[in-house]
């Protein structure tokens, strides 16, 4: 019933080389540590958003480089409907900093029903 998740979704594309595989050694969320499952070959990535903050900073490590992404967002606790669970709505997603080649915000709200992807990241 609750359509809100607690993570943003980013997809990766490699510019000029569609067959290249993206693999990070580790992904660190500042204030939390290393994210589980971070060594998989990545096409998409879930970005957990802490409720108590309004900014989440991620660092992506590879053998040769470091990428960073700082996301800002707003938090709205709400009772979606009387019979549903209470939920947190993350909205107004934006980036305050990133070191990727380019990044496009395609959905500024975390919402399962109509915003499957929030960021498209190009390397």
């Amino acid at each position: 019933m609750d359509p809100y998740g607690n993570y943003a979704v980013a997809t990766f594309d490699v510019l000029n080389d569609e067959v290249q595989i993206i693999a990070f050694d580790s992904i660190i969320l500042e204030g939390f540590g290393r994210l589980p499952g971070d060594q998989d070959t990545l096409i998409g990535l879930l970005l957990p958003l802490p409720v108590e903050n309004t900014e989440a900073v991620f660092h992506y490590y590879t053998d040769s480089s470091l990428y960073s992404l700082a996301i800002t967002y707003k938090v709205q606790p709400l009772i979606y409907a009387l019979s549903c669970e209470a939920a947190i709505r993350f909205y107004d997603l934006d980036t305050s900093y990133h070191s990727f080649d380019s990044l496009v915000i395609v959905g500024s709200e975390v919402h399962f029903d109509y915003v499957p992807i929030n960021f498209e990241i190009y390397l």
Partner: protein, 238 residues
């Protein structure tokens, strides 16, 4: 010669205008001065809130009304307190007070039993605090207990009322009110958007859909304190 002609003209004019002069005299009415001095005070307790408190486990509320008559108008004041505790997979508590004041216009002032059907307008104001507590399961951060609260939130709105008062026994009346609540405005809450507003009802429809209009029905047990005799105005005969 000229005098007799003038007399004739005068007679013709008099006879011609006589029926109209007569008509204007018949149409004259005695204007009765409206009695603006108050004659009675109604004090009522809201039965719907008492019954709601008895049957709804999550809600306790109390409400009352007072009105004073001025000619065909009534100066009305309503007030109450509400406490809500919704306990589901979350816990939502809300407590506050509300006040409403405005005017009613009596549509049947000639009723010999002093029953009343009136149209009214109210300005309503509510002040409350609320709190939301729930557990959020998160694969990264584990299960977190989250708590959010708002202090001293205020809301105001306008109501249009259709009211019916019926004398049931001596000075006791039963009152029923159908109200349409409009133009709600809520002050910026501290941490989250309130789910309920005392005196208004649910603030949300569902999701993030704000409830911009509301409809309510309430009934009152009213006591009539009459402090002077007031004539029931006569009905106009057409």
């Amino acid at each position: 010669m000229s005098l007799s002609i003038l007399k004739s003209i005068y007679n013709i004019l008099f006879l011609t205008l006589l029926p109209f002069i007569g008509m204007s005299q018949i149409a004259d009415t005695v204007r009765i001065k409206p009695d603006w001095n108050p004659s009675r005070l109604h004090v009522g307790i809201e039965g719907s809130r008492l019954i709601g408190t008895a049957i709804k486990g999550y809600k306790r509320s109390l409400g009352g009304m007072v009105d004073l008559d001025f000619h065909r108008f009534l100066l009305a004041f309503e007030g109450g307190a509400e406490e809500i505790n919704r306990l589901k997979t979350y816990e939502y508590t809300n407590q506050g007070t509300f006040f409403k004041w405005g005017l009613d216009y009596n549509l049947i002032p000639h009723n010999k039993y002093r029953n009343m059907v009136s149209l009214g307008l109210r300005y309503a104001k509510s002040r409350f605090s609320d709190q939301l507590t729930f557990a959020e399961e998160n694969p990264w951060f584990g299960t977190q207990t989250l708590q959010f609260s708002n202090k001293d939130v205020s809301a105001h709105w306008t109501e249009i009322l259709l009211r019916l008062n019926v004398h049931v026994w001596k000075n006791v009346l039963l009152g029923a009110v159908l109200r349409i609540e409009l133009m709600k405005n809520v002050s910026a809450p501290d941490q989250f958007i309130p789910f309920d507003i005392p005196g208004w009802g649910r603030n949300w429809k569902s999701g993030t859909d704000d409830k911009t209009a509301n409809m309510g029905f309430s009934y009152y047990l009213i006591y009539n304190f009459s402090f002077r005799k007031k004539e029931i105005p006569l009905k106009k005969i057409k």
